[in-house]
Point group: C2
Chain length 330, copies 2
């Protein structure tokens, strides 16, 4: 499963590789081993049925500032893009490993994300006042529009075993689960896609430099010194899943540097595509950048009004490109 | 409504007061004015009906690191303590202003916090496979134990208008909404209680020192320099609501410094009580510290097994103390 892994000793003090740094600087969280086995079984089952499998990562990572954590650094991300993309991949016949931040948006239920569960239910036959509490509790269709249809799609996907949810909260959990996922999906070669939409922190505080206890405000202003997170795209493409179709995301707030950064990422990691987007316009405009193309995907005002989602376009573009990629690999 | 406000000019450059710093360093968010009016009307209505009103704050504050925010600092808090305490205050006859972090736990629905909405529903008469999608959607009682009873309590509180939810996300929203709440509740004098359970950041980055755009990882390791947040407990007690019954919370990870810190807070701000607790044991043990007493509240193992909540004890202790406080004020 390790492909063309380089022979450099991981974690060598002179020039540590990202993989070496992962092993040395981030302890393996407890849930990784079991999740890795689940993902491997999932990939094998769907791969041997001739189905493509996509790993969708979604939501932001949490970076602790104290070892008994009271404070942490977070990345803005509702998980909307990952959750909606997962649905379009399922619609396109993919099996989906959904590696997402705990409590971020989830496929299908994302439609009702802002709803308080108790506002969505009512006791049947309730008139004025009500009473008893022994009546049957039913969904309120005014609060949950189209709930029967959405529920049916959700349950069909669940029963068919096409969606495997895996959760992370911290950066460390994300990094180790990504490695486990990459190794699990590497067994199906070019039929695997990585769709890395999660908002992963670029910075962290090593455990050895972290205070054990809550930082005291009486100690005065706070200076935080953060180290750069090792870039996992590098071992993922080179070593963990060298035959897979790999898509990364680039989110910027400054449009003027976006495409330069996207092209630089592609040259550095030599993967298949970058989906480039700007914070303010991310729901209506993205550019899919590949080594030899640059495709703008745009929603018109009319489409936005009709609640067309740009993720439908992104997934459609990438599943076609994935087909060509598989054909080329033979 | 400003009570014995001091005459020092707020925001004077020599020695700015916390209130002055709030005005100068934190722009007033758009929603504060309307929320202030709502809270004032709520306090007046319940106050004139002879009802006590408590402001419960709950959840953590978000501190942006960039003005177009991709990254932020957060405080660990699910909002569990605030949400459950709000229920016990309602049970004790209080009207509750629930000032909480967007999407943190909420009274009553907190019981089902981990539940995916779509896992909690099923189409009626569903056997094997199902179909149609036209059936009625009902709550699954195995996933939502006691839902009819919980729903009934939730709806009764809502219909009686006893719970006013107000949301914050950022530190700035929290601080300005706290001030607006304090001024709103000051009109009912000693019948107002402040139960400040939110996990408020001690540190922030002033807007003037914040980068506009996303911090680039290619710029190398990150140095963050954070300023101390002005302590709002001081103007709240002295100026905004000088007749109210005010409770703050002290959460530490190191038990050895807990009571010293709690006593120091009480001496500094001269409010009525500090609820002191340690991160690891906070669900089974707290100390209520007042100027002349120190009361340990502990759940036995048997009580913990029976799912007795320590918030029931905390609220019972404080509502009694509030009664004495009101009686003393005459």
């Amino acid at each position: 499963a390790t492909g063309q892994r380089s022979m450099a000793s991981p974690g060598s003090p002179s020039s540590p590789t990202p993989e070496g740094r992962l092993a040395v600087e981030f302890a393996v969280p407890a849930q990784v081993e079991a999740a890795g086995r689940q993902m491997a079984a999932f990939a094998q089952r769907h791969g041997s049925a001739g189905r493509r499998v996509v790993l969708v990562t979604s939501g932001g990572t949490k970076v602790p500032l104290e070892s008994r954590t009271v404070r942490f650094l977070d990345n803005f991300s509702s998980g909307r893009r990952g959750a909606s993309s997962a649905e379009y991949f399922l619609d396109s016949g993919y099996a989906v490993v959904f590696l997402h931040r705990h409590r971020s948006l989830y496929p299908y239920s994302r439609r009702y994300a802002g709803v308080n569960l108790l506002d969505a239910l009512r006791v049947e036959g309730e008139g004025e006042g009500g009473g008893g509490g022994s009546g049957r509790v039913v969904a309120d269709h005014r609060v949950l529009p189209d709930v029967a249809g959405v529920l049916q799609r959700y349950q069909a996907v669940k029963e068919a075993g096409l969606l495997l949810p895996v959760e992370f909260s911290t950066l460390s959990e994300y990094l180790h689960l990504l490695k486990a996922a990459a190794q699990a999906l590497s067994t199906i070669g070019s039929k695997a896609m990585f769709y890395l939409a999660a908002a992963v922190s670029d910075f962290y505080i090593p455990a050895s430099e972290m205070p054990e206890h809550k930082i005291q405000s009486s100690d005065g202003p706070l200076q935080i010194s953060m180290k750069m997170v090792p870039k996992m795209l590098s071992p993922l493409v080179k070593d963990w899943a060298p035959s897979a179709f790999v898509i990364s995301f680039k989110l910027e707030t400054d449009p003027s540097i976006l495409l330069v950064r996207a092209r630089r990422a592609l040259e550095t990691y030599r993967h298949q595509a970058v989906v480039a987007n700007v914070l303010d316009t991310r729901r209506g405009y993205v550019v899919v950048v590949t080594p030899d193309s640059q495709t703008e995907l745009v929603l018109s005002e009319e489409e936005a009004r009709m609640e067309v989602e740009i993720e439908e376009r992104i997934v459609s573009n990438l599943t076609s490109a994935h087909s060509s990629f598989i054909a080329q690999q033979g």
